[in-house]
């Protein structure tokens, strides 16, 4: 990373956004008074480091092709006051996937959206869900142990800013031996007339032998350009498992960084599916730290972009101990002038013998102006491992096209069948059937061009036969 202090004095100037942030830090810190000492210290430290490094730009290897350099010259409102709780979430938000019920939690403009008196829910089974701000006061020991300790790989200016400035976020704690039956769905809503930068912070802790499935939806955004900078820390205890689904269908003006860091203990299992259907510029960071033997991480993603959209998947897997498995499968279809970046880095440390690590990134370019930068990368210091990596960028398989057309199928339908089949390899990995069916349906619609044409509302399709409704009534909040 090139730091501000490494630059020539003449160049040592902060960008608009950096200046903006530096001027606001004191106020931001005052607003967050009454926090745990450890959190406060983390904020101070992150801020000091940020002042030295600044925000990343095109000179940084991992941001070389990123459109986020467009953000640094913009000015954002850094704080929006905590919105009042005027309506129940069920009144303003509607997402019906047939046969799939979730416990919906939501953030509005980065704040945990709930009645004032219950910022933190403790359920019968001991599961705690609620505001991270309240949680740090009620569960200081959990914070002491995990906050800021998990997101320690690939730290950059934006994640530092998140630590220094976050106002609120979601906290989930699953006690030992609890299998949470109902999926938790986190909805992020943004409703502002200002151009807002939202720094929200989530912490998810799974005790031993527990299970949780979490759906993280970034698709609930109004049309104001915004910058959403989220850091999520996840701790998966021994023999626990987490299914994490990220669904992204945001407007074309929004910049989104979704940085998720996971610490996995012995024999824990993590399954991630990142489904990116729309968005101006989306950067998904996934840092997985395999810290206990027998841990498994299965990381998958689909991205279907068009127009000038960009998706950037940065995946880092740290094999710290022996006998862990990781697999990465990211597939994308890119149309028009859209672009995708895949940066997969698997680090196999010296002691991590008997590691299995697989990495694959396949892309289909529909036009000559679409672009992919793919960097699957392995760094191996152990000598008894099984690792592979690969990437392809291509067009649809001509042999398959001919085979389909020889059976009488027209070119358009043959293309659709093949594109869908290409994406389905990832969608098939979604275990929850109703969710899989809905996502497959969204993918089909997206490929037929039925989702992308909804300029005004990326959430709601006009076709009557959709099994999935996903709508937020912004007029009520």
């Amino acid at each position: 990373m090139i730091g501000k202090s490494d630059m020539n004095p003449s160049e040592n100037k902060y960008s608009v956004l950096e200046t903006n942030l530096i001027h606001s830090f004191e106020t931001s810190l005052q607003r967050a008074s009454g926090e745990q000492k450890s959190v406060r210290e983390a904020r101070m430290l992150a801020y000091e480091t940020f002042k030295k490094t600044g925000l990343p730009g095109r000179k940084d290897e991992k941001w070389r092709n990123s459109k986020f350099d467009q953000v640094t010259d913009q000015s954002f409102e850094l704080y929006s006051s905590k919105p009042g709780y005027t309506h129940k979430v069920s009144e303003i938000f509607h997402c019906s996937i047939h046969g799939f019920t979730t416990k919906v939690e939501s953030l509005l403009n980065g704040w945990y959206y709930t009645p004032e008196e219950i910022p933190l829910n403790t359920m019968d089974n001991g599961v705690v869900v609620g505001s991270i701000q309240m949680a740090q006061k009620q569960y200081p020991e959990v914070f002491e142990q995990h906050f800021g300790k998990i997101a320690k790989h690939n730290v950059h200016g934006y994640s530092l800013v998140n630590t220094a400035f976050f106002n609120d976020g979601l906290f989930i704690y699953v006690p030992d031996n609890v299998h949470v039956e109902e999926s938790v769905q986190l909805i992020k809503m943004v409703n502002t007339i200002e151009k807002l930068m939202i720094n929200s912070r989530n912490l998810v802790v799974l005790g031993k032998n527990s299970h949780l499935s979490l759906m993280h939806c970034d698709d609930s955004i109004n049309h104001q350009a915004s910058m959403i900078n989220t850091v999520t820390e996840i701790f998966i205890g021994e023999n626990a498992s987490l299914d994490l689904y990220k669904l992204q269908n945001i407007n074309n003006e929004t910049f989104l960084i979704n940085s998720t860091s996971v610490n996995q203990q012995r024999s824990s299992r993590l399954k991630v599916n990142v489904i990116t259907l729309n968005g101006g510029a989306i950067r998904n960071e996934l840092n997985v730290d395999l810290q206990g033997e027998g841990a498994e991480a299965d990381l998958n993603g689909i991205y279907l972009m068009d127009r000038k959209q960009q998706v950037d998947n940065q995946v880092f897997v740290n094999h710290a101990v022996p006998n862990c498995n990781s697999s990465e499968l990211f597939k994308g279809v890119l149309d028009d002038e859209s672009s995708a970046i895949f940066n997969g880095f698997v680090l196999v440390n010296k002691d991590a013998q008997k590691t299995n690590a697989f990495q694959r990134n396949n892309n289909i370019l529909m036009t000559s102006t679409a672009k992919v930068d793919t960097m699957p990368f392995l760094e191996i210091y152990a000598d008894d491992v099984k690792c592979s990596h690969g990437a392809t960028i291509g067009q649809l398989d001509n042999d398959a096209m001919f085979y389909l057309m020889q059976r009488g199928i027209c070119k358009r339908d043959a293309r659709l069948l093949l594109m869908y089949a290409f994406a389905a390899e990832v969608a098939d990995k979604i275990d929850i059937r109703p969710l899989r069916v809905s996502i497959e349906d969204m993918v089909k619609k997206r490929l037929r061009g039925e989702l992308s044409i909804c300029e005004k509302c990326v959430l709601h399709c006009s076709t009557p036969d959709i099994p999935m409704e996903f709508e937020i009534d912004m007029s009520k909040i």
């Binding site: 085979y403 020889q406 059976r407 199928i409």
Partner: protein
């Protein structure tokens, strides 16, 4: 007349493979095309079905009195041209059901026939599966994915049975088949033979022709048909090889 190929010249990347080929296939006839490797047998199949990259530089292909030289592969298919592939393509993620449904719908749309209902379609699938003795459930499997060599070839004949083409080209359908699978495939083909359709059977070996008995046998060499005869010609070739024809 079903198929009438007149003085056909075909090039791949500027290299001429077919050099003035003539062939006439009438309804109810089975034609075998034999010949050594690299003489253009598969190129002929590709040219008739309209595969990209096979450029017709001279000559005509008439199908049911219509010139099809410039038609798209799917247009030819809908008119009744079918190719049983030498190497059936694996298409992961596309289920056999979706594939056949889409294909049959396209055909019905082309012919102005009503689209089959889900029930009718599945009934037809089951019927035709019996014909080629496919026991396995095809419905949820991806096209040819993980199929054995024999299953792939049976699957080609199954698709042929589903689509009921007027002209079927079998490109080395016998390659990679054991004798039992070969018998099953041949039985399927024979069951589909009628006075209404024709077959072009491309093969290296006499063996297949014991089971699918041809009306005519043609020998190809260097992009042309150099000898034609009845089914006894195949036996002669089996005995003497191709050298005496060069």
């Amino acid at each position: 007349m079903l198929l009438n190929i007149n003085n056909l010249h075909v090039s791949i990347n500027g290299k001429e493979i077919l050099k003035g080929l003539n062939l006439i296939v009438n309804e109810g006839e089975v034609h075998a095309i034999m010949g050594p490797n690299g003489t253009g047998k598969s190129t002929l199949a590709a040219a008739i079905t309209g595969r990209n990259g096979y450029e017709i530089t001279e000559g005509e292909i008439w199908f049911k009195d219509e010139l099809i030289n410039d038609m798209l592969p799917n247009e030819r298919a809908n008119k009744g041209v079918f190719l049983s592939f030498q190497y059936p393509v694996e298409i992961p993620g596309v289920s056999m059901t979706n594939f056949m449904r889409t294909a049959l719908n396209a055909k019905h749309e082309f012919e102005g026939l009503p689209i089959l209902t889900g029930g009718e379609f599945l009934k037809r699938m089951e019927e035709k599966k019996q014909l080629v003795e496919i026991q396995a459930k095809l419905n949820n499997r991806s096209v040819n994915e993980g199929f054995s060599g024999g299953e792939k070839k049976k699957n080609e004949i199954f698709q042929m049975a589903m689509l009921e083409p007027r002209l079927a080209i079998l490109d080395e359908t016998d390659s990679g088949l054991d004798i039992d699978a070969l018998k099953v495939v041949a039985k399927g083909v024979n069951a589909l033979r009628s006075n209404n359709n024709g077959f072009v059977v491309i093969t290296h070996y006499q063996r297949l022709l014991d089971f699918i008995v041809p009306d005519f046998v043609h020998v190809m060499y260097e992009g042309r048909i150099v000898k034609s005869g009845g089914k006894e010609l195949a036996l002669e070739l089996e005995e003497k090889g191709y050298d005496w024809l060069k």
